[in-house]
Amino acid sequence: MPIISRVLILGDGAAGTIMANKLRLLTDRKEVDITVIGNSPKHYFKPDGVHIPFKLKKYQNSIKPTRFLFNYGVNYVQDEVTGINVENRNVGTRSGKQFGYDYLIIATGNRFDPDEIPGYATEAHHFYDLQHSIELGNSLDKFQGGNIVIGPSSIPYQCPPAPYEFTFLLDQYLRSRGIRDKTNIHYMYPLNRVFTIENVSNFVEKLFEEKGIETHTLFNVESVNPDTKEVLSLEGESMKYDLLVLVPPHKGQKVITESGLAGKSGYIDVDRHKLNYGKFDDVFAIGDATNLPISKAGATAHFESEYLANRLAHDISGGIYDEIYNGEVACTTITGSGKAITLYFSYDRPPRASFQSKMDYLLKWTSADTYFSGMLRGVM
């Protein structure tokens, strides 16, 4: 039987890889051609970024060669997407190739834009990529006490709990080095609480109080002054730092804006239940690339891919699939002292956060293995 559908996936991160592998498991490779275009030679398990600065994990176990992560029957093209024309069903790449499709799935993720905040590039540390996580670890090794200021520079950003997870691990690390009493930890957040979701925020705020972590809410970072070592807010406040750990400003990819699929933010508006773009029933976006009001996280990409792979598999074979995606996300987040909590939520159901456990921490601890061997492969 000849190929009846060509599925083109843009992006080789969590969303693109899970989507390709899940769809491959659900379709016949003689009938459905699946091609992924991406330009990351290595695939990094980003949640380990909060552990690496404290040497709690070896970074070598958090990265794998991207080309080995696709199931048999998925075509992987290492190239950069330079143009997307959804009217003509065509995608162009840096090497000059052109790709047509029957279904297009955009999973191009985020990019960091440090220039958005004056002073950021030379002063701020972060743990959102492997290089910066290692560099932050080196700075922490030299740290002997003073003010550490932590927080997101803006919203949205990947893995919303990561800044507070890092803060709990930092508190633990400083205590183990015997310098916690010489250090003030300041946690700042752009909203009038310490996390986007109110009941999780209440829970985290209580733990911060117990651990002596100071909170500064409604602090939207405007600039960083390298001379005075101060971070300045849009609200007119400032905070002195000896070590600044600031989540970099995030945006969608330039090619998305340049192709007219999104405004300046670079995030694509999709139907919140069907994940298709605008009037097009053959163009979808998943993962961090979307403008959906849910976490930018691997867990979100996982749930979205599960829905979309099933929907496309039914669609291609002429079946009916009347399920919708309802914003389901599950994530396990560290709360310090060897414990974690798992949050389940959707568009309509806020998460409950009341039960910390060592078992959840174990799940989090081993999640890189589960991710590479199960989740990415599309078998979970």
């Binding site: 919203i155 909203l191 009038n192 409604l218 009001p293």
Partner: protein, 80 residues
């Protein structure tokens, strides 16, 4: 504020959930001039409290929070 007040800028964040409407308002605020009146429409009830708190803390003027037909309107004046 009377119904006839015309804001210089309107942010329509209806359908977006917290913290979307507040972040959209802040984005618009950054581009506005001192004296501009900015209005944000939101269907998320949390916006009433979050936006008002931010407007007060940032030293701007909260003109009012109004219940419209199926959504809220928060109106502010940029003072700094």
């Amino acid at each position: 504020m009377s119904e006839e007040v015309k804001p210089n800028k309107v942010v329509d964040a209806r359908g977006s959930f917290c913290p979307g409407p507040l972040m959209e308002l802040i984005k618009e605020y950054k581009q506005a001039a001192v004296g501009d009146v900015i209005s944000v429409y939101s269907t998320d009830t949390g916006t009433k409290r979050d936006a008002a708190a931010w407007i007060n803390k940032s030293g701007n003027e909260l003109i009012g929070v109004f219940e419209r037909n199926g959504y809220y309107e928060v109106v502010m004046k940029k003072k700094r």
